[in-house]
Symmetry: C2
Subunit: 425 residues, 2 copies
């Protein structure tokens, strides 16, 4: 029965039960962490052969010595690999260093210095604006803050961002210069954008103008949790048909495929956009690490091999997701005080508490040694207007750590909810 429908006495009894359980956890002096979307070391082990895979061969078919300077767009083989991930021709791929975040940051810098964003900002009160589907990825929001870009939230609904709202906002405000998207298994909600969403997204720049950019961060493109992967339509193709492909910037990386901190990243764009970005980058880089690009080409080979490799990741992390979902169902399934996602891919489970309780749940958990992502982190300016969203990252802890951490978490949500319903602090 939902807690909201219980008598006060029944709630008081529950409160006692949860408070006792909570105090028990305190006595265990736990030190557990559910915050970071980091691969576990068993996942990293899957790619250990990367180091040494070159076996002394450093020269490409075209004669390029990958050890030496040069080549900002990346080696042809790695551009092709990125094309396999983003479903683009190699000619539309730039291969970056170990972080797609850096490519995004530099792309924003490029748009300010060489695109029209600086001019547009100066023509207003100094700021342009970006649309941010929520809940979303905190590091996207941090980039906007760094560049003093005002963020406007748009809720995610079935099939992706609320496109009605997106379109009306774009129509009404010419200072809106882009939108952040994690279109597949989105962080943290697990949404995959529908065909209709992709199609309307492709048409969006027709309303918004030429400096509009769709930042299509396909971070979880091959990160399925089921054997029947979600399908995501190809935005670049749809945009090409609409004549808006110059507004599409696609991103991906191998961070959660090989080594999280030592992978390679990809930026997909029209050839003209890549050429302009390459010119900009030439002042800031000597070319990204081509040796590591070649390592990744040798190791990941092609999309089939990548899919096989990702199946090994799934075998490690699926039981962790299952455990979290089992604990949530068992502890909160009938309670009516929380709802959560059932992701088919990606790295997170997104949970909503009763309005106003997320911060309290995070505080309660921290007090007994379980670190959660700060409440609000999934919203621009770190402010969740309803203070209810919590992002759970199950991949990094061991199964047994996760087991305990989820018991604590469920207890904290239950305790905070019952207190709220009883009106006690």
């Amino acid at each position: 029965m939902a807690y909201q429908d219980l008598s006060t006495d029944a709630l008081k009894s529950l409160h006692e039960q949860f408070a006792t359980a909570y105090d028990d956890f305190r006595s265990q002096q736990l030190n557990l962490d559910l915050t970071r979307g980091k691969p576990a070391s068993e996942q990293l082990d899957l790619s250990n052969e990367l180091d040494g895979i070159l076996d002394g061969f450093y020269v490409l078919q075209d004669g390029t010595d990958v050890r030496n300077y040069g080549g900002i767009l990346g080696i042809p083989e790695a551009r092709a690999l990125g094309g396999e991930l983003l479903d683009l021709p190699a000619s539309q791929i730039l291969v970056g260093g170990n972080s797609s975040l850096t490519l995004m940051y530099l792309y924003f810098d490029f748009m300010f210095h060489h695109g029209g964003w600086q001019r547009e900002a100066q023509s207003s009160d100094g700021r342009i604006k970006f649309l941010c589907p929520v809940p979303g990825y905190d590091r996207h929001f941090t980039i906007c803050e760094r560049f003093d870009i005002e963020m406007i939230t748009v809720p995610l609904v079935d099939g992706g961002p609320d496109m009605e709202l997106v379109e009306s906002l774009v129509d009404s405000d010419p200072l809106i210069k882009g939108i952040w998207c994690v279109p597949k298994y989105s962080n943290p909600t697990g949404h995959t954008y529908s065909i209709e969403t992709v199609s309307r997204m492709a048409a969006l720049p027709l309303r918004a103008g030429r400096d509009f950019r769709i930042m299509w961060d396909n971070a979880y493109v091959v990160h399925h949790l089921t054997e029947t992967p979600d399908e995501l339509a190809n935005l670049m193709e749809a945009a090409f048909r609409s004549g808006t492909d110059a507004s599409v910037i696609m991103l991906a990386s191998t961070s959660k495929v090989t080594f999280a901190g030592a992978g390679i990243s990809f930026l997909g764009a029209t050839e003209a956009n890549l050429k302009a970005f390459e010119g900009y980058l030439s002042a800031a880089v000597i070319g990204f690490d081509k040796v590591n690009q070649l390592r990744h080409v040798r190791f990941l080979q092609d999309r089939d091999a990548i899919d096989n490799h990702m199946a090994k990741h799934r075998a490690i992390i699926k039981p962790k997701f299952d455990l979290v979902l089992h604990k949530l169902n068992a502890g909160l399934g009938d309670s009516g005080v929380a709802s959560w996602t059932q992701p088919r891919g990606g790295y997170f489970i997104s949970l909503d508490t009763l309005p106003g309780l997320a911060g309290e749940v995070v505080r309660l958990a921290a007090d007994v040694g379980v670190k959660l992502t700060p409440a609000g982190a999934t919203f621009p300016y770190r402010t969740d207007p309803e203070n209810r969203n919590i992002r759970i990252a199950p991949t990094f802890p061991s199964i047994s750590q996760l087991d305990t951490a989820m018991d604590v978490f469920v207890t904290c949500v239950s305790l905070a909810s019952v207190r709220e319903l009883l009106g006690v602090q």
Copy 2:
């Protein structure tokens, strides 16, 4: 005898001789390149064991898994390695990715967004200024251009930049916010700054104010061409004594130690400066590639091992420098139409033609298939006011390619000079 002292007939005879030689080269359809300060593949081979050196060990003594996310300042072992190069404690080192250029670029971006440069620029006509010792490194100048920083040239004299001029410029113009330095075996002239220069450099921020930065790019710190290396005084220590260490930003990398395009880089600064820069970087990077940092720690070990490794580089490149100097001496030694440096380290030989001829020499060489660094490249805005400086990069070609290329080069200098003296085109 100097060409200037020859009779017209003697010059005409020389002209015929050089023109014939030049036409001979044309018939050979050469395709040679003296432009880039790139290591030769034999040099890169010296570090081939980098790939595979980890042998499956990815976890540090402090428990850090180098494969995973995190750690913007770098792993402790790599920070210590950078400290060996820059003669700083590990706590004053940030370890970057494969390019110190990127660290410089990001540091400038940081100084604009978070240091005072933006404010200072806005208080004037929108520009700040930087001192650029010349001839210098084109990529330093490109960074200034990118950030719309006005460049003021200062000639290099014995012992480094003309410090009288540097000091008087700084005294007279508060918009001067820094100076680029390659203090050891400088690019392209091979200067190593004297103790007096370092000492006066350390005192410079006392005249210039707190936002002044000495960009101390120690790119060739271990790149000796002799067995008796030049000594460079420690600027950070001198600046600490003067209370100006906050103005010192040191840079180095392994680009010309291990793999040119796949090494690691270092930025040295006060701990407070590093902390501020780390905060800035947190929006742009997830942490640099720690796996590659650990590879370099295992391979380079410490300063003694680095020095041994660099002796192997010297064994490969010293004969190339010797060949270039031999060809210049033999072909131009008595001519009076060119002067050049005798570097004791670094990657370049800097040659001055008669005033006004550098562009013509580069054009002549290109026309017969020998690519030289564009005339002017060693000056801000790609403009050598006297049009006489040419940078020769001997390391990348083979000895036999270099032999031919230098014959062409000497012929082009001779031909252009004799034409100039004869007044013919």
